[in-house]
């Protein structure tokens, strides 16, 4: 018994609509939220009051990551996730000390990439004669080994009396060079004048 076309049409239309909505939601979600693709399963371990220290091949400490709690979710092919509650990252880059605090963090691929979220605040010491830099945003993704960081949420960078506001930022060599995007606004004090 053939089903008349006008009967099938609504079903097809609704299916297409549902598919398009799902695709739109998947594409428009910020990249951070779309990682990892694999929904996390049950945690296989958790620990409180943790201190993770990473060393380079030369034996020098690369970074130290403290957290009130870490929870590990296993995953195949490097899709496991380590979740941090109130993480505090300390890293040395180019002779400058960097301190980062946030509400939470997630480490992917054995800490190759760490997404920090919630009141992210980074303080980077200056070299002698240079004020420290303070960075504030809602999110910050850090690649510790590459000494790179990126934020896609509004950022404020303060250094001495200079304040830069932007809608996103990328940092190479952990703040060796910074790129700000969106309509950027920078306020700088003027230098002292020549005495006439």
């Amino acid at each position: 018994m053939a089903i008349p076309a006008h009967r099938i049409y609504p079903v097809v239309a609704l299916a297409l609509l549902a598919g398009a909505t799902l695709w739109l939601e998947r594409v428009s979600a910020p990249e951070e939220a779309r990682t990892p693709v694999v929904e996390r399963g049950k945690a296989d371990f958790s620990a409180d009051g943790t201190r993770l220290v990473s060393f380079g091949a030369d034996g020098r400490q690369r970074y130290e990551l403290l957290a009130e709690r870490i929870t590990h979710y296993p995953g195949a092919n490097g899709t496991d996730i380590t979740e941090f509650t109130r993480p505090r990252l300390t890293q040395t880059a180019e002779g400058r000390l960097l301190h980062l605090v946030a509400d939470s963090g997630e480490a992917y691929r054995e800490g190759e990439e760490i997404l920090f979220t919630g009141k992210v605040r980074v303080r980077r010491s200056g070299i002698p004669g240079e004020p420290e830099a303070v960075f504030v945003s809602d999110t910050l993704t850090v690649w510790p080994d590459d000494e790179r960081a990126r934020s896609r949420t509004p950022v404020v960078l303060t250094r001495g009396d200079t304040v830069i506001r932007a809608s996103g930022m990328q940092a190479d060599n952990i703040f060796g060079t910074l790129q700000f995007d969106g309509r950027v606004n920078a306020t700088m004090p003027r230098s002292g004048r020549n005495t006439p």
């Binding site: 004669g129 240079e130 004020p131 001495g160 009396d161 200079t162 830069i164 932007a166 703040f175 060796g176 060079t177 910074l178 790129q179 700000f180 995007d181 969106g182 309509r183 950027v184 606004n185 920078a186 306020t187 700088m188 004090p189 003027r190 230098s191 002292g192 004048r193 020549n194 006439p196």
Partner: protein
């Protein structure tokens, strides 16, 4: 405008690159520098920053456009306005140096040349056909000036 001196420098742009090693900030895309009544616009602005703040800015424009600057004259509502291919502003000396296709207009006075230096403190400007006044400008251009007799605002014929 002397009050400008006490104001912080505010800069807007579409993209900024901060390089710690060279202590430079490169602002790109619809750049507007504001300090009190002073305003400099361009497509790109390279700012050198000392430990105590803004020191120098070099503004340029892309394609055939020119970077521009304007600043209110002390005690008046009149503005000094200028444009050039490159404008260098130094906050220590409070001077704006305009290079190539330089033009400054102040009240009824206008000057055009290859190089103009405007001193915001004394509100004087020096115009020549080459920076430093030596030798002909690349374009061999001449300096043109229209200087209004004091107390009149009617435009006079340009002086050759």
């Amino acid at each position: 405008e002397p009050a400008d001196r006490e104001q912080p420098v505010n800069i807007e742009a579409n993209h900024v690159t901060v390089d710690d090693r060279s202590k430079t900030h490169v602002f790109e895309g619809d750049v507007i520098l504001t300090q009190g009544s002073l305003q400099i616009r361009g497509d790109k602005l390279v700012v050198t920053q000392g430990a105590d703040g803004f020191q120098q800015g070099v503004a340029t424009a892309g394609g055939n456009r020119l970077a521009t600057f304007r600043q209110r004259r002390a005690g008046t509502n009149e503005y000094v306005e200028g444009e050039a291919e490159r404008i260098e502003y130094d906050s220590r000396t409070e001077r704006a140096k305009l290079f190539n296709r330089a033009y400054v207009k102040s009240g009824g006075d206008e000057v055009r040349g290859s190089y103009i230096e405007y001193d915001a403190l004394s509100e004087n400007y020096l115009v020549s056909n080459a920076p430093g006044g030596a030798g002909p400008a690349a374009g061999g251009g001449r300096v043109r000036a229209v200087i209004q007799p004091k107390g009149s605002s009617a435009p006079a014929a340009p002086a050759q």
